[in-house]
């Protein structure tokens, strides 16, 4: 089956700035894709290009195999949930939801049924007669969702839909959105700059940086095998050790840590590296294993250090260990493991990288 949306080498400029820079991306029927990136990286611009607001300077966007170049927004089979919700203030909740249905020429009876169904879907039964200004932020967000979904689009574009909500409501809504997406089978493209939100909701994440796609993959791939320093740092906590490549062969790279001449780490690396090249070793905090020193010198592959800070975060425990080189490593331990170790500030410990835990970054 061809992908629902094909974005082919699309560039969109504002003056000298390429807000979207040669982006290629595909969205499959029914998938939940998160577009993740820092503020100003071009997420909204890319989403608006798909919805038909603004034209690409070069490249093509195909939806259902059809080139969208000359298709105005009102004829595209996608709907968008605006960051500001953009509910029509002079219409009731019901009329807001029915707006798109009436434009499609749906009969009164069908329209009433669809509106009721949508209100039920977003758990807003009984609010149909309200005006938008009589709704709370969370309620108006639900209405905006219902309105965007009412036409049964093949793709729903969501531009930071949860940004206005407080944390608790936000987490609840994340699950509700996921449930709605599963129930309807509509493809969702969610724009966010919150990596936690992207990880929690999406089946696939596209990380964007300065107008370009830095990496796409499942949340797990993005987290465990970041393709670059940028992705590694942007998604989740990370320890980045400066390193120099020793050798590269058959997709396996070895690198020596700066400031620890005898510490050589070997790992898979997706793109080829040259010996002597500067690189970085990325290790997630939960892959840093900590053991108490037993007086003996550190085992091979371990580095000695001193605990400089601890934090109990409920369920997990963070320890900061200052190595001999001066580099401070962040280690995340599960609650029970931390209790067993009983770490406190000033303890002398050995830190090593757990099995399968490190990545040598290509860039």
């Amino acid at each position: 089956m061809p992908p629902l949306v094909e974005i082919q080498e699309v560039t969109r400029r504002f003056g000298a700035l390429a807000a979207v820079d040669n982006v290629s991306l595909e969205i499959a029927e029914g998938e939940f894709l998160a577009l993740l990136g820092p503020s100003g990286c071009g997420k909204t611009t890319l989403m608006r290009l798909i919805a038909g607001f603004g034209a690409a300077d070069s490249g093509r966007i195909l939806i259902g195999g059809r080139d969208m170049a000359d298709v105005p927004p009102y004829e595209r089979p996608v709907n968008m949930m605006f960051q500001s919700h953009a509910l029509f203030p002079h219409m009731s909740v019901e009329s807001n939801i029915a707006f798109g249905l009436a434009r499609a020429g749906m009969s009164k009876g069908d329209m009433g049924r669809r509106v009721a169904e949508m209100l039920r879907l977003v758990q807003m039964e009984g609010f149909g007669a309200r005006r938008p200004h009589q709704l709370s932020g969370g309620q108006s967000q639900r209405v905006a969702l219902a309105r965007a979904l009412a036409r049964r689009p093949r793709l729903l574009l969501l531009d930071e839909p949860l940004a206005a909500l407080d944390r608790k409501l936000r987490e609840e809504t994340q699950f509700e959105l996921k449930a709605v997406q599963r129930e309807l089978g509509t493809a969702f493209m969610l724009v966010t700059h919150d990596q936690g939100e992207a990880m929690a909701m999406a089946g696939r994440i596209a990380v964007m940086r300065a107008g370009a796609i830095a990496q796409t993959g499942s949340p797990r791939e993005i987290y465990e095998s970041p393709a670059s320093r940028f992705v590694a740092e942007f998604v989740g906590g990370i320890n980045l050790f400066e390193a120099v490549v020793v050798s590269f062969a058959g997709g396996i790279a070895s690198a020596r840590l700066d400031g620890a001449s005898d510490f050589v780490f070997t790992a898979r690396c997706s793109s080829p590296l040259a010996a002597g090249q500067k690189t970085a070793l990325a290790v997630r905090p939960e892959s840093i294993v900590i053991t108490r020193t037993g007086g003996a010198p550190p085992a091979p592959g371990a580095l000695r250090g001193e605990v400089v800070d601890t934090a109990f975060l409920g369920g997990i425990f963070h320890a900061r260990v200052k190595l001999a080189s001066g580099f401070v490593v962040l280690s995340a331990l599960s609650g029970p493991a931390a209790a067993e170790l009983g770490l406190t500030r000033g303890d002398s410990v050995d830190a090593s990288i757990g099995p399968g835990g490190g990545r040598i970054l290509a860039s």
Partner: protein
């Protein structure tokens, strides 16, 4: 202490507008009401009774007994007044509708213009105010006369052979009113349109509304407060307009402003003129007050 001073300032802030209203609105209004209840007289001032504070309370009470509604009764008896009112309201209403039609596209284009142009466009919209109103109305005589600019231009391009008789007709009055009051319509419309969130029309387009549907279902209804404000700003002064019908209108152009003028200056019948003014005020204010009432009775709507 500072709290005491603060509350004094606060109280002054509340009281001052009322003082302003009392001095500049209520007092002149009461004087006009009083004159409208007096009788015309060959005297200086040309009506009786005249209240003199120096004559004491007794004289005041005697004067009050002399007040009567005779000027209003005369208004009711003379069909000229009724026709003048109806004609004024008709001309003002038609002119308001025409002004709205002319102003809406202008205001719309202004609100959609690049942001850095907009302050300049607003300046241009009010630029006519830099020249005297009277001179601008006179200029229209030069344009609309039988041998004026318009007729010569039209004849020049071969569009007409006989001059169009526009000057000294109701059409000329309408043109004058639309021209003179256009900025009063453009500005509130512009501010209502510029305030609209552009995401609303985008959302409508996203939901399948073609440009025309976007306009009629979103932009236009949301600009209603501007339409209303602009229409009132045009209709109310236009209904009492004197200068434009006097200069551009014909002898048969009947507007209450002209009637008022001739009562004051030709007939020196101040009570009749004042009564006519009060009735005009009532005609304009009563529908407005009723409309306000129905609106405030509605559950809070709009924004």
């Amino acid at each position: 202490m500072s709290a005491g001073r603060g509350s004094l300032v606060e109280r002054a802030a509340i009281v001052l507008p009322f003082v302003w209203l009392a001095v500049f609105f209520a007092a002149p209004f009461l004087i006009v009401v009083k004159i409208s209840l007096s009788q015309a007289a060959l005297a200086q001032p040309p009506y009786a009774p005249v209240f003199e504070l120096s004559e004491g309370l007794g004289a005041l009470r005697a004067g009050l007994r002399e007040l009567s509604f005779s000027a209003y009764a005369a208004l009711a008896e003379d069909a000229l007044y009724l026709r003048a009112y109806l004609s004024s309201l008709w001309i003002a209403g038609l002119a308001t509708a025409l002004t709205l039609c002319a102003a809406y596209p202008l205001a719309f284009a202004m609100a959609r213009a690049p942001a850095h142009w907009q302050p300049h466009l607003v300046m241009l919209a009010i630029a006519p105010f830099w020249t005297s109103f009277l001179i601008r109305v006179y200029a229209w005589i030069a344009i609309l006369r039988d041998e004026g600019l318009l007729n010569r231009a039209l004849a020049g391009i071969g569009f007409i052979t006989e001059p169009l008789h526009i000057f000294a007709t109701d059409t000329a009055v309408l043109i004058g009113i639309v021209y003179s009051y256009l900025p009063f319509m453009v500005l509130p419309l512009y501010s209502a349109l510029a305030r609209q969130d552009p995401a609303l029309t985008e959302a409508a387009a996203d939901l399948g509304a073609k440009p025309l549907a976007c306009f009629w279902r979103i932009t236009f209804p949301l600009s209603r407060p501007g339409i209303l404000a602009g229409s009132l700003l045009v209709f109310i002064p236009a209904a009492g307009e004197f200068v434009i019908p006097d200069l551009l209108g014909g002898s048969d152009t009947l507007m209450i402003g002209k009637v008022l003028w001739s009562e004051f200056f030709d007939n020196r019948d101040w009570p009749a003129a004042c009564a006519a003014a009060i009735v005009l005020l009532a005609l304009l204010l009563i529908p407005l007050a009723l409309w306000e009432r129905t609106r405030s009775a509605e559950p809070v709507g709009g924004r």
